[in-house]
């Protein structure tokens, strides 16, 4: 489904991703872990099409298509969804408006008819209840005045409505208490299917108890330096990232 080859990304003069390779097959859940500033969010943003990140080398294929040729909205149309690490507040734009506009834009991209108001309302209500969010959040401005947890829940709620093919979750677990974490994980797990893939970025192994990944990758210094199964996450939690960095340095030196 997603194939990233030798990806190099610069922000300003600084190279952040330095030759990253990653392949995600349909139906798989991958997790990326790594220390602060290692480039996790950069990867997520580049996948979603953020223009301020400059891809200097490498390629990204999504379902065989050159993703880098597509505008962010086209990527969404193709089925990519990013749950932001820091969801943006947009005063004056109602949450419900954003979501309906988004859903219908994606439907249009796919040559489908827009959803009627009533149908949309029903869909939104159903997903909203699932996420334990009060209806009032729908009418409020996007993320404005939302608590940290509400923002993250709102991201997952949007994901539920938009039903992407590849969902990238950038630290959706950070700042959540255990109850909220359960709700968010349930929201993600409910969408798990053989047709859908996930890229779950996190600092904490905790989340991976709820969203059990097929693969865990360690991103250090702009490269994936180690990959493994879910037990790698537990090891990282116990031992930190130091040893992985050390291993990879030795590998480079040899």
């Amino acid at each position: 489904m997603l194939e990233i080859k030798n990806l190099h990304v610069k922000v300003g003069d600084q190279e952040i991703l330095k030759g990253l390779d990653l392949t995600i097959n349909t139906g798989e859940v991958h997790s990326i872990m790594g220390p602060n500033g290692s480039g996790k969010s950069t990867l997520a943003q580049v996948l979603a099409g953020r223009e301020s990140y400059e891809v200097t080398e490498g390629e990204i294929l999504f379902e065989g298509k050159d993703l880098l040729e597509l505008a962010p909205e086209e990527r969404a149309g193709e089925g990519i969804f990013l749950a932001f690490q820091y969801p943006v507040e947009i005063p004056g734009v109602a949450n419900t408006y954003l979501l309906r506009e988004a859903l219908n834009s994606i439907r249009k991209y796919r040559g489908e008819e827009p959803l009627k108001h009533v149908e949309f309302g029903k869909l939104a209500k159903e997903k909203m209840d699932k996420m334990g969010m009060p209806d009032s959040l729908l009418r409020r401005s996007v993320n404005e005045g939302f608590s940290g947890g509400e923002k993250k829940r709102n991201e997952i709620f949007q994901m539920q409505v938009l039903e992407p093919r590849l969902a990238i979750l950038d630290e959706t677990d950070s700042g959540l208490d255990i109850d909220a974490l359960k709700i968010v994980s349930d929201g993600v797990n409910a969408l798990r299917s053989p047709e859908r893939s996930f890229l779950v970025i996190t600092h904490y192994q905790r989340l991976l108890n709820y969203i059990v990944p097929d693969f865990v990758h360690v991103l250090v210094g702009g490269r994936i330096v180690k990959s493994g199964g879910k037990e790698l996450a537990i090891e990282l939690e116990d031992r930190g990232y130091g040893w992985v960095e050390e291993e990879s340095r030795q590998a480079v030196n040899n």
């Binding site: 979603a48 223009e51 962010p72 909205e73 969404a76 734009v93 988004a102 834009s105 938009l162």
Partner: protein
């Protein structure tokens, strides 16, 4: 013969001598006295220059150096169809229409009015409602230091007159429409409006300025609005002048005890625009909502000068002005709040937000608080920023196309000041104007 007004030779006074020979309301001594005082004061003051602190950011030299024709006759006849684009779909209004400054009986439509209500053109009211007009006209819009108000006083001939007696709720909004047709030479109009809403009465009044062509002309407007005790008045200024026009307009509102006014300005047209809003909260417990939206492109210059005067205790004023500036346009927001000595417990708030859509657009925003009472709450805040690219990316990442995302962000910014309009159809009309503005902008970007 049209009269020429120019700063050359004998100046505006020369044209005035000609004008007064057959001005409307001729022979009414009180009216002629106002006009005389107006021309005298204007002759003394002259057009303001940058040395005048109130005009520091706005250069009116282009007005001063343009000779204007004051049309005396030969005005174009318009079909009602020509006015269609300026109506509020679905809303029944009481219409006063002025074409090139003169009242059009055929195009106006007042219908049957509730008992005691008067809606007519001012020139007619000089005669038919002389007592009321004499009592209020020029009683509030002081021109000791206001050159343009003095100029208007000298040359005022016609405009809207609205009178709502005590206890009457005027259901239908009044729409005063000023249309300028295509002109070969620059013309001057001096619309003068008088709106008197008595105690416990209410009304909604729209002033709209439009142009059928991109001609050069000068609208020098003064509106006096009297809000009686416990009255509620909505005032809407919709400015859609030609892109070459000059529009200087002053709304002077006089508020009595417990009155509530809502002033909405939507400024879209004009080459050089100055919007003076001057409410005086003169009785206890008044409420003033002063909202505005200015949107400029090209080389437009739009200046907003607020002068909110708190004269009595326990009054609230709320100013929300938003500006969107594109191209090489320039905006000004000067927010003056004066709290007089007796106006204890004043609660005054002012917010001015600006969105710059181009690197060459510019805004000068300046709060000015003059507080002479000690127990008051006054806050002000101004922001200047660009479109939030993070927000746009967020919307796009959800599948919303770039152009739509930008429009959504823009309209979220602009609609804030329009939402508070009480009359839905007027609000929708304004929203459509904004949509047109966005669409125009997109077209211009494609070129």
């Amino acid at each position: 013969m049209d009269i020429t007004l120019s700063t050359n030779g004998g100046g505006y006074r020369e044209g005035y001598e000609e004008f007064k020979k057959n001005a409307t309301g001729k022979g009414l001594a009180w009216l002629e006295a106002i006009r005389e005082q107006g021309i005298s004061r204007f002759s003394e003051l002259g057009f303001p220059t940058a040395a005048n602190e109130d005009w520091r950011f706005t250069n009116v030299a282009p007005i001063a150096r343009t000779p204007f024709s004051l049309i005396r006759n030969g005005r174009e006849k318009l079909s009602p169809r020509a006015l269609k684009p300026y109506e509020f779909p679905g809303l029944e209004t009481i219409d006063l229409v002025f074409v090139d400054g003169a009242y059009s009986e055929e195009l106006s439509k007042t219908g049957t009015l509730p008992g005691g209500v008067r809606v007519e053109n001012l020139a007619r009211a000089f005669e038919s409602d002389e007592g009321l007009v004499k009592e209020h006209l020029s009683a509030y819009a002081d021109f000791t230091d206001e050159a343009f108000t003095a100029l208007n006083a000298a040359f005022m001939e016609d405009g809207g007159f609205v009178y709502v007696p005590s206890g009457v709720r005027l259901e239908k909004p009044v729409h005063i429409l000023f249309v300028t047709t295509s002109r070969t030479r620059p013309t001057i109009e001096s619309p003068r409006n008088l709106i008197v809403v008595e105690d416990n009465a209410s009304a909604e009044v729209v002033e709209q300025y439009v142009s059928l062509d991109e001609s050069v002309y000068f609208s020098n407007v003064v509106t006096e609005l009297v809000a009686g005790e416990n009255s509620s008045v909505g005032h809407y200024l919709i400015e859609r002048e030609s892109k070459k026009a000059f529009n200087i307009s002053t709304l002077r509102a006089e508020q009595k005890r417990s009155s509530n006014i809502r002033s909405h300005s939507v400024l879209l047209g004009g080459a050089l625009v100055r919007n003076n809003i001057h409410p005086v909260l003169g009785g206890e417990g008044c409420d003033s909502l002063i909202n505005g939206l200015y949107m400029s492109t090209g080389r437009q210059h739009i200046d907003n000068y607020m002068k909110v005067e708190h004269k009595s205790p326990h009054c609230d004023s709320r100013q929300f002005y938003n500006g969107v500036l594109d191209g090489r346009s320039r905006g000004v927001f000067h927010g003056r709040i004066i709290v007089h000595k007796d106006a204890q417990k004043t609660d005054a708030k002012q917010t001015n937000r600006n969105l710059l859509l181009s690197d060459n657009a510019q805004i000068d925003t300046k709060p000015q608080l003059e507080i002479y009472a000690d127990d008051v709450k006054c806050t002000h805040g101004a922001t200047i920023g660009q479109m939030d690219e993070n927000a746009i990316f967020y919307l796009r990442s959800r599948g919303i196309p770039n152009e739509t995302a930008r429009d959504v962000i823009l309209s979220a910014f602009t609609s804030g000041t329009i939402e508070s309009m009480h009359v839905r159809e007027i609000r929708e009309y304004c929203e459509n104007l904004l949509d047109d503005w966005f669409a125009q902008r997109r077209l211009a970007e494609k070129d």
